[in-house]
Symmetry: C2
Subunit: 468 residues, 2 copies
């Protein structure tokens, strides 16, 4: 069925074949052919391939990579493998690899290594670069400063286009991006930017000051990295300049790092909203103990906080004993309530994360949710009544009294309205007092909504049903 | 406290001031100054500003924008405003704006417009572009073809570096990116790529065939846009070429579109996992009716499926009537079970989305979750026992019998193990049979886990407690 054309067109198959072939060459110790093959692969793919190779063979294979590919591959590897390699490297080899690694990537590597490995890395780096690494490591976690790269092309206003091209040619290969160049004055203050596109379409003798764009979108070293990524996304930038408090250019954040931040923040929200402490490594690489550690505190919290729901049920024991059928609707009421609440909270939490909703929108949000919840409440109450009459009574012959059905339906409607109110306000309030809204989503809202729905249930039951 | 320096450093404040100023100028009808001010703003900011301007004034303000800024701003506006503008435009104005809009953006606009507006747009576009738009609109939704841009720089192997620069200068301004140029042969087959960086560091007379990179990471028109974005992310690309079945270059997908896809897919997962049908517009712009529509089906499904849990409780009515305290632990068992299940399912669903986990990992996943769930189960069972003895008995004097406590703890441990098993396998099975794993997360897993936890509870109770 598979013709050659279709095969050739599938980039993934080609890659898989190459990697399979690489494994064979390693098996047969054909390092000459392996070297040729690896040169065709991307750093990320070589790193992926090396994960499946016995750890003791990794340094051997790594050594046959061309110098620059080696450094790029090193950056893509996971920290366990990096550590093995660093331990296997001679001082000279380490020096050579680290020379080609960008400062921001070096910082990432250092942060994952044990102290003795860090000492060896720092020893292998020039004092000048060491100072720069130190600077970046001192920026607060999650700040623009901590993720910026310091390899960019800077120009001055008096340069000509020809000068600019000379500078790009001379230093460009060691810069993370050359396509946007930043214009600074004698004090390194950011004056403007000029793209290579502009340079290419300007005469060679034009002066940078005349062609540069002075409306630069920039950020500061202490800005939240999430906000920085949002700027890059909003304005479709390839990189954004980072300035210090004196408006001096100190680095840039590139679009690939912004994608990582966006991805990372979304994953953190996914974890927190579902009662998991965010983990650093992918699931399959995280130890059982660490997964347990990331999950158990929330389950414990949930278990203890369920004391309230237990107390509510206990105090209505006699009512439940009299009208036993009431118990059978508890799961439905709790689940629908919990779900209604989480529908609202997730919408608001993501809106906050994406910057679409702010605390000042709280009244608009409440008004919107109020209308949605009344619509949802009425439609579900009606549906529940029909369901009880058709499924529970006609089909299952449970003979639920219509007054009990009424109690269930009224509770359903009220629970939904309150659940959505809690679900939409709690994240906004959390944000306001400086808490992470995402943490509010699961255990807190569930516990509160559970308790509220039971209280409503029993209040409605005692006031409508005769004799309890 | 706020000195001038700090103020100047805050890009957000500067922007807000400019926008405030713009509103004043609109109010005072000072269009000359407004024109100057708008020229300093980014298209995304002008679009944001126009959202707060009375709709009837928008066409007036739009007309004072410089031609290219107008087109860029138009693309950034939301579809309601675009529609108002198109209706206000003369045929000539519409033609002028559409001329500067990229084909992929035109497709996005057309997809949101009512039929009569679409007809006007298509009439304003040259037949040649219209054919291209038609092509893109025929690619399946969510395919690379549907989001690709057809404005890229293509070179041939026999060109020199000087020729390449000439072509970039000549056509570059109308291309979405010029920094990666694609090399094609006479049949438009993709042969390689060359970056502007390489062009800049090569001699003017060098031939493209000699300097191009033949190991091109590419994708096909029918590839899933999510996979395409993953490639861009993995290899840190600025753009990826898209080829048809004959390996002919037909377009490129750029990194800014990839970010949008990544963001969009994450939001879809957030919605689905929390029983919401994904919505197209931001929350505050979505109508109450549409929000209701996106939430009610799942709540209904949940309500109906709770029939099972109700049935289980009904059939154990007599047991519950005898040991009434059993009822008070139902919420705790159900919530902890539901949470344990969702912890596992969210982890697996995101792993699948990110490509970190595949169906073939199912045994590894089950083995990992088995160990995690046994750890969680034992620790929670012990904690529950202590909690019942300390809080329920010592503090609240509920006098829970130790045999009842035992029933609760055994149920807790078993529920967690089974919930995590269901939570980790369901999404993988869903993926295998072509369902969306994210939809499995909330209503399905909750309903199943609820039913299972109740069944375990009553089975354990009837076998341990005397007389029920």
């Amino acid at each position: 069925m598979q013709d050659e054309n279709e095969f050739e067109n599938n980039a993934e198959d080609i890659l898989e074949n190459k990697i399979e072939h690489a494994y064979e060459l390693i098996e047969n110790k054909d390092f000459q052919k392996l070297k040729e093959l690896l040169a065709e692969l991307e750093p990320a793919d070589i790193a992926m391939m090396l994960e499946e190779v016995p750890i003791e063979k990794v340094p051997l294979i790594f050594r046959i990579l061309p110098k620059e590919l080696a450094a790029d591959t090193f950056v893509e590897m996971d920290s366990d493998q990096q550590e093995v390699l660093i331990r296997a490297f001679s001082d000279e080899e380490l020096e050579q690899v680290m020379r080609d690694v960008f400062v921001d990537d070096t910082v990432d590597i250092i942060e994952e290594m044990p102290a003795n490995v860090v000492r060896r890395i720092l020893k292998s780096i020039s004092p000048e670069r060491r100072a720069k690494i130190n600077d970046i490591m001192h920026y607060p976690e999650d700040s623009a400063g901590s993720i910026m790269t310091i390899e960019y092309v800077d120009l001055t206003e008096s340069m000509t286009v020809a000068d600019a091209f000379d500078k790009i040619r001379e230093t460009g290969l060691n810069k993370e991006t050359i396509y946007t160049c930043y214009v600074i004055d004698g004090n390194r203050k950011l004056k403007g930017l000029v793209t290579v596109m502009t340079l290419l379409t300007s005469p060679q003798e034009a002066v940078i000051a005349d062609i540069m764009d002075e409306n630069v979108i920039f950020t500061t070293t202490d800005a939240d990295k999430e906000d920085v990524s949002k700027l890059i996304e909003k304005y479709d930038l390839l990189a954004i300049p980072v300035v210090d408090l004196e408006h001096r250019l100190v680095g840039i954040v590139t679009v690939d790092d912004a994608i990582d931040v966006i991805q990372e923040e979304a994953e953190e929200d996914f974890a927190k909203m579902n009662a998991i402490t965010p983990m650093e490594k992918p699931y399959l690489k995280t130890s059982v103990f660490n997964i347990w550690k990331s999950r158990i505190p929330w389950l414990m919290l949930m278990m203890v906080s369920a004391t309230f729901t237990g107390m509510i049920i206990s105090s209505f024991e006699s009512a439940l004993a009299k009208v036993v059928i009431l118990t059978s609707f508890i799961p439905m009421l709790m689940d629908t309530g919990g779900n209604s609440g989480s529908q609202a909270s997730v919408t608001i939490i993501r809106g906050l994360s994406l910057g679409e909703i702010e605390f000042s929108d709280i009244l608009r949000v409440i008004w919107k949710e109020a209308r949605v919840s009344i619509l949802c409440g009425i439609s579900l109450a009606v549906a529940t009544f029909l369901k009880i009459m058709l499924i529970n009574n006609l089909l299952l012959h449970e003979n639920v009294d219509w007054t009990v059905a009424l109690v269930v339906c009224i509770t359903m409607a009220l629970t939904i309205v309150i659940a959505k109110f809690i679900g939409c306000t709690l994240p906004l309030l959390a944000k306001k007092i400086g808490f992470d809204p995402a943490v509010m989503a699961s255990p807190f809202i569930t516990t509160i909504v559970d308790a509220v729905s039971l209280l409503i249930y029993f209040s409605v039951a005692t006031s409508i049903l005769p004799g309890i």
